[in-house]
C-alpha cells in the first residue's frame, strides 16, 4: 500500500516534469507544434490578414486546426475576389525520396484544395502543382527548416 502511494507520487512528479519540459521546449523554439511549423517568418500574405501557406507534419497530409483557419480565410477572400484563380503548390522537405515526395506534395496541395472547395471555391478556379522537395524556402538541414518546407502555398494565378 505504502509502495503504491510512493509509486503514484513518483508518477505524478514524472508527469508534471514531462509537462514542464514540453512547455520549456515549445517556448524555446516557439515555432513548431508537434513538428508542424507555426511561425510566421517564412509566410507571405495573399491579402491583409490572409496567409498564403499552410504547413504539415512529417510524412503527413492532414490539415491542422491552424491550417484550416488559414484556408477558411483564403476561401473567404477568394469568394470576395471571384475573378482571381489560384495555384496550390505542394511541397515536401528534403528528408524523403524524390519520387515519393512528388506524390506527397501533390497530396498536400490537394488536401488544401479540397478544403477550399468545401468552403465554396469552385474547383475550376484552383489548379494544383507539386514540386516535391525541389523548391525549399529554407536551405537549412534542421528540423525547423524542414518544417517550413513541408507546405502548400496558395498563389494568385492571374
Amino acid at each position: 500500500m505504502n509502495l503504491n502511494k510512493i509509486l503514484k507520487n513518483i508518477f505524478l512528479v514524472l508527469a508534471a516534469s514531462l509537462v514542464l519540459t514540453a512547455c520549456a521546449t515549445q517556448k524555446k523554439t516557439g515555432q513548431t507544434q508537434g513538428d508542424v511549423y507555426t511561425g510566421t517568418d517564412s509566410v507571405e500574405y495573399l491579402a491583409s490578414g490572409v496567409k498564403d501557406r499552410v504547413f504539415f507534419a512529417t510524412n503527413e497530409t492532414v490539415l491542422t486546426t491552424a491550417s484550416r483557419d488559414t484556408l477558411r480565410k483564403q476561401a473567404g477572400w477568394l469568394r470576395k475576389n471571384s475573378k482571381i484563380n489560384v495555384v496550390l503548390e505542394g511541397h515536401a522537405d528534403e528528408r524523403g525520396t524524390r519520387e515519393y515526395n512528388l506524390a506527397l506534395g501533390e497530396r498536400r496541395a490537394n488536401a488544401a484544395k479540397d478544403y477550399l472547395m468545401t468552403y465554396g471555391i469552385s474547383s475550376n478556379r484552383i489548379s494544383v502543382i507539386s514540386y516535391g522537395k525541389e523548391r525549399p524556402v529554407d536551405s537549412g538541414s534542421t528540423p525547423l527548416s524542414w518544417s517550413k518546407n513541408r507546405r502548400s502555398v496558395t498563389i494568385k494565378a492571374n
Partner: protein, 446 residues
C-alpha cells in the same frame, strides 16, 4: 551514331578455354588481381597522324591509361606501376618474357598495338596469363579515331569479362541531372557522360526543372520528368537526334518513369486529386493501361528483367514500403518489413535482387534485398542518399548523395557515388557540376 562506325573486324585467335588466373568476384576488393597494362605500342608515323586528329601525344598510352583506370576503379584489379615494367610495349606484344612480368608480381598482362590505317584507328590487344605463360584473349578492331576513348572501354570490357566471367560495364554512359545554384533556387539540366566521367554533355539548357532521367535498356532513348511550361510531365528524349515529346495525354502530373526491359513501354505514376497510381504506356500504339488502383501513393515502379513482375513503392500500409506485383497489377505483395521507410526499388538486371533506399533513425541507406524481401543488406549509410541505378551487369550501383548544410544553411552539395554490390569500393563519381538522379545505360557495343 558512334555505334555505326565501330565494328569488330576480326578475332585473331580463338579464346582458350582454360585459365589458371581468375578474379574472385564474390568477395569484393579484398585481394584485387595484380595486372600489368603495357602501353599499346605505336609507330612514329601513326603517332604523328593521331596527334593531328585528336591532339594527344601518344594515343597508345592514352588508351592503355583508360583501361588501367577502369580496372582500378572496379576494385577487382590492381594495375601495377608502369615504371617497373622491364619489357618494351612492342616486344611484349609479340611475345612477353613471362619471367619479367612474374618478377613484378603481375598475374595478368595486357599488351597491344595501335596503327593509323586509311584514316582509321586500328587496335589489336592481347591478354596474357603470366603464371601459365599463355595467351588468353586476342582481339583487333578498327574504328574512327574520335572513338579512341571507347576503344579503351571496350578493351576493358573484354579483359574484365575474360577474367571475371561476368560481362563488363565500361563501354557505357551515365545520364544524370546536373545541378547548379543555391539550394532554394537550384537550376537543373539533363547531362550525359561516359561511365568514367569523360565526354560530358548537357542536353537541356536549365530553363525548366528536369528530374529522374532513365535510359531505355535497348537503345539511346531516355525518359524523364520535365516541368516544361510548369506542367510536370513525363517526356521521351532521343539523345541522338535531340527530339523530345511528351508521353501520353494525362490531365495531371505524370512522374517516376522507367522503360520496360524490352524498351517498348514506359511505366510511370500518374497523380490526380491527391492520389498517385501506376500506369503503363505502349510506345508503339500509345495504349495506356492502369496497373494499380489504390487510394495510397503508388510510385517508383521498376520491372523485373523478364518483364513479368513490377516492384514499386507504396504507402498503403501507412508508410513507404516496397511491394512486388505481377506486371498486370495482380498479386500485390509487400516485401520490405524492416524499421523505417523504404523507397526507390530498382530491379537488378540479373533479376535476383532489388536495390532500394531506406530511411532509418534519421539516416539514409542504399541496400539490396532478394526479390521476396529476404536477405536484406545495407551497403552504405549517410545523411542523405537515394536513387540507386544498376550497372548493366548488375555488379555496381550508382546513386546520389546530398550534404547537410551548416547552421547558416550553406555548404549544400549533391554528388554521384558508386558502390560494389558487396558493399566495398565506395567511390565518388567525378562530375563537372553537382549531380543527382544517375541512370546507367546498357553496354553500347554488343
Amino acid at each position: 551514331m558512334l555505334l555505326r562506325y565501330l565494328f569488330i573486324l576480326l578475332i585473331l585467335l580463338p579464346i582458350k578455354v582454360y585459365a589458371l588466373i581468375e578474379v574472385d568476384i564474390t568477395r569484393g576488393n579484398l585481394s584485387p588481381l595484380p595486372i600489368a597494362i603495357s602501353p599499346l605500342s605505336i609507330d612514329e608515323q601513326s603517332k604523328e597522324s593521331f596527334k593531328k586528329i585528336i591532339k594527344k601525344k601518344n594515343i597508345g598510352s592514352e588508351i592503355s591509361n583508360i583501361v588501367e583506370n577502369n580496372l582500378k576503379q572496379s576494385g577487382l584489379f590492381n594495375p601495377l606501376n608502369k615504371d617497373a615494367f622491364l619489357q618494351k610495349p612492342d616486344i611484349a606484344n609479340l611475345k612477353p618474357r613471362f619471367e619479367d612480368w612474374n618478377l613484378i608480381k603481375a598475374q595478368a598482362l595486357v599488351t597491344g598495338k595501335v596503327t593509323f590505317v586509311d584514316e582509321k584507328l586500328r587496335v589489336e590487344f592481347r591478354l596474357w596469363d603470366v603464371l601459365a605463360g599463355k595467351e588468353m584473349l586476342a582481339l583487333a578492331f578498327t574504328t574512327v579515331p574520335s572513338n579512341w576513348r571507347r576503344v579503351g572501354h571496350i578493351i576493358t570490357d573484354k579483359v574484365y569479362e575474360r577474367l571475371t566471367g561476368e560481362k563488363g560495364y565500361f563501354d557505357t554512359r551515365i545520364i544524370y541531372v546536373a545541378e547548379e545554384g543555391p539550394k532554394i533556387k537550384r537550376i537543373k539540366k539533363l547531362a550525359i557522360m561516359d561511365q568514367d566521367g569523360f565526354n560530358n554533355k548537357f542536353l537541356t539548357l536549365g530553363n525548366e526543372l528536369v528530374l529522374t532521367p532513365r535510359f531505355n535498356p535497348t537503345n539511346q532513348m531516355v525518359t524523364y520528368l520535365s516541368y516544361f511550361r510548369n506542367l510536370p510531365r513525363v517526356y521521351l528524349l532521343d539523345i541522338e537526334t535531340g527530339m523530345q515529346e511528351v508521353v501520353g495525354d494525362f490531365p495531371g502530373m505524370t512522374f517516376a518513369p522507367r522503360f520496360s526491359p524490352d524498351g517498348k513501354k514506359i511505366i510511370m505514376s500518374f497523380a490526380k486529386d491527391g492520389n498517385s497510381d501506376i500506369y503503363t504506356m505502349d510506345l508503339e500504339n500509345r495504349v495506356v493501361e492502369r496497373i494499380t488502383n489504390h487510394p495510397s501513393i503508388d510510385t517508383s515502379p521498376s520491372y523485373s528483367p523478364d518483364g513479368k513482375y513490377i516492384c514499386f513503392n507504396s504507402d498503403r500500409s501507412g508508410y513507404q514500403q516496397i511491394y512486388v506485383m505481377d506486371s498486370n497489377g495482380k498479386n500485390v505483395k509487400r516485401i520490405s518489413f524492416g524499421n523505417g521507410l523504404y523507397g526507390t526499388p530498382v530491379w537488378s538486371p540479373r533479376g535476383d535482387l532489388i536495390a532500394f533506399t531506406r530511411l532509418r533513425k534519421g539516416k539514409f541507406y542504399i541496400g539490396v534485398m532478394r526479390t521476396d524481401g529476404t536477405g536484406e543488406r545495407l551497403l552504405t549509410e549517410n545523411f542523405y542518399q537515394e536513387a540507386p541505378s544498376w550497372s548493366p551487369n548488375g555488379r555496381v550501383l550508382i546513386f546520389y548523395r546530398e550534404t547537410k548544410t551548416n547552421s547558416k544553411g550553406e555548404g549544400f552539395s549533391a554528388k554521384l557515388w558508386s558502390i560494389d554490390l558487396t558493399g566495398y569500393n565506395e567511390k565518388l563519381v567525378e562530375t563537372e557540376t553537382d549531380a543527382s538522379d544517375p541512370s546507367w545505360s546498357s553496354l553500347l557495343s554488343n
